[in-house]
Symmetry: C2
Subunit: 330 residues, 2 copies
């Protein structure tokens, strides 16, 4: 299970097996989307499988997640989402109402984001050979002009902006499974972050250096990957990282670190220090960006690692997610 959790084991699987065999020219840094060039036009493409359980949960459902997750992968790669394809694996005996609800959720999310669904496929497997349904979505987008994103664009002194509170999605899924005797008034954060990304790109696109959405493995895993890729150190101010009380409480009870919990409606941007305050203001003025924060900065040390500084001045190394405390959260 750990190989699917988005942490260290996943990276070993990708770097050790998939990438060397599948990708003829291994991308130096694996991003959320790939870019294709041809006929004078560049395209961004991304694909993602969704296996979340339960299928629906406070704030969202698998169909809605499949649309917004793919939109967000394009958005944080610096692309405007243009079209989506959807492929379904359905378990025989799945109730029509459940299928219809998810198809409707996809249509609603796609319409809200203004991204057409242009094609799809359906396969049915025997009862017991899938868990109701799995959905794979593929997104195709156009690169936003004027952006040069990637770990190689990240500089010492750059600031890290986080779009809003973390951990809502992972904790919501955990509670929705009903395996814990724990309740909290909390919803998944699932949404399209494209409007926020577009606002930043329009305001100070040239000063945007890197973006990612901290999904599987959470903020900690995503920033560790960045630290490794750019060979610089990441300093986080722990008290600046927005975490709702319910999420913090659940994490304390369960011995989890909010930095490892998955998000579905947040993203992080590394930006030039000179523009950081202005970029934060742009997010605050954009609907859905009101809770954005500058949570840290890039330094030379500890190279390849992430350091969190607590409110009391204590520091700790924040590692990637190891193992999988929360399987199948997306």
């Amino acid at each position: 299970m750990a190989h699917g959790a988005g942490g260290k084991a996943t990276r070993r699987l990708i770097d050790g097996l998939f990438a060397p065999l599948l990708y003829e020219s291994i991308p130096r840094h694996l991003g959320d989307a790939a870019f294709l060039e041809g006929n004078g036009r560049s395209l961004a493409v991304t694909t993602d499988g969704f296996v979340v359980t339960p299928l629906s949960f406070p704030g969202g459902s698998i169909g809605e997640l499949a649309i917004n997750g793919t939109i967000n992968d394009l958005a944080v790669s610096g692309a405007r989402p243009g079209a989506i394809l959807a492929s379904f694996v359905l378990e025989a005996g799945l109730r029509t109402e459940i299928l219809e609800a998810e198809v409707r959720a996809m249509a609603t999310a796609a319409k809200k984001a203004g991204v057409p669904i242009v094609g799809g496929d359906t396969k049915v497997v025997e009862h017991g050979k899938a868990d109701q349904m799995y959905i794979t979505t593929t997104g195709i987008g156009s690169p936003l002009p004027g952006l040069t994103l990637g770990p190689e664009a990240v500089r010492i002194g750059d600031r890290i902006i986080l779009s809003g509170p973390i951990g809502d999605h992972g904790i919501t899924i955990l509670l929705a499974r009903g395996e814990l005797d724990l309740e909290a008034a909390i919803c998944s954060d699932t949404r399209s972050v494209y409007p926020l990304v577009e606002a930043l790109a329009n305001a100070e696109g040239a000063d945007l250096h890197w973006m990612r959405d901290p999904t599987r493995g959470g903020v900690a895993t995503t920033l560790n990957e960045l630290a490794i890729d750019c060979r610089l150190g990441i300093h986080l101010s722990e008290e600046e990282i927005p975490v709702r009380d319910q999420v913090r409480g659940a994490c304390e009870l369960l011995g989890l670190d909010p930095l490892h919990i998955a998000n579905e409606g947040q993203f992080m941007a590394v930006v030039d220090a000179s523009s950081a305050d202005r970029m934060l203001a742009v997010l605050h003025e954009t609907p859905g960006g009101e809770e954005a924060q500058i949570i840290g900065e890039i330094r030379d040390e500890p190279a390849g690692a992430v350091l969190a500084v607590s409110g009391y001045g204590g520091t700790r190394i924040v590692d990637m997610l190891v193992g999988d405390p929360l399987p199948r959260i997306c």
Copy 2:
């Protein structure tokens, strides 16, 4: 299960649920790929889930099928395959050798076809929540110049060319399951048909009116869909349809019609009568096209239906596949 078989129930599911909800502008005729326009460039895109069981079988395996199936959907839509994305759902406990073998099969098939794999995703579900592995592939291609394909381009008098013998794939899968006390020296026909399609397009592209690969539901279902879409009648000369003896024998024993059996390496083209012989010659000269045949023609009657004429002059209506005698063949 019938909803996944590619026949009548699948069409009801797509026309009744998916298309009205998902596709803002419902394509009048659902093809194997969708076309996107933008920035003066047109793109062909297609997505397909693969759930074949067993994972490997004489002549191929799920990974190889996932690459060639997607290449073929682009090819018969009249597009040159340009890039593939792959998304995996893996069952926890899947043996590494099996995963590696399929990843290798994908890499080999992609390399042979000259199409790069540019991205992917992996999800892991608990043991018992998938049948070893499912793969979804998405293909992106560029439309071949000079082609106008579609049921609306089909005319009375047009000829139907079939690229080679039918039923090999479906019967191979059926035998590979070992549930029947039946053996035959037969292999899946899985392969890329793009070289054959390209040869036709280069030779007489303007006279190519329609192409499809007869996968789930076989030749009968694919041609019934064409008959309905173009509102014309399709006459097949049954004795011209190439079927290997082993396939014919297995079908007779099992009470199956070879016209309903799935193929993974064949395609059909409807071509202008004036070019039909020349197109057939082009296929015969192209490696892999030696067994192509002209198997029928388009007439005005019976509108919306497919008629097969036997060697003795008898005729029968060939219906779409109903139910699913062979689930999970791709």
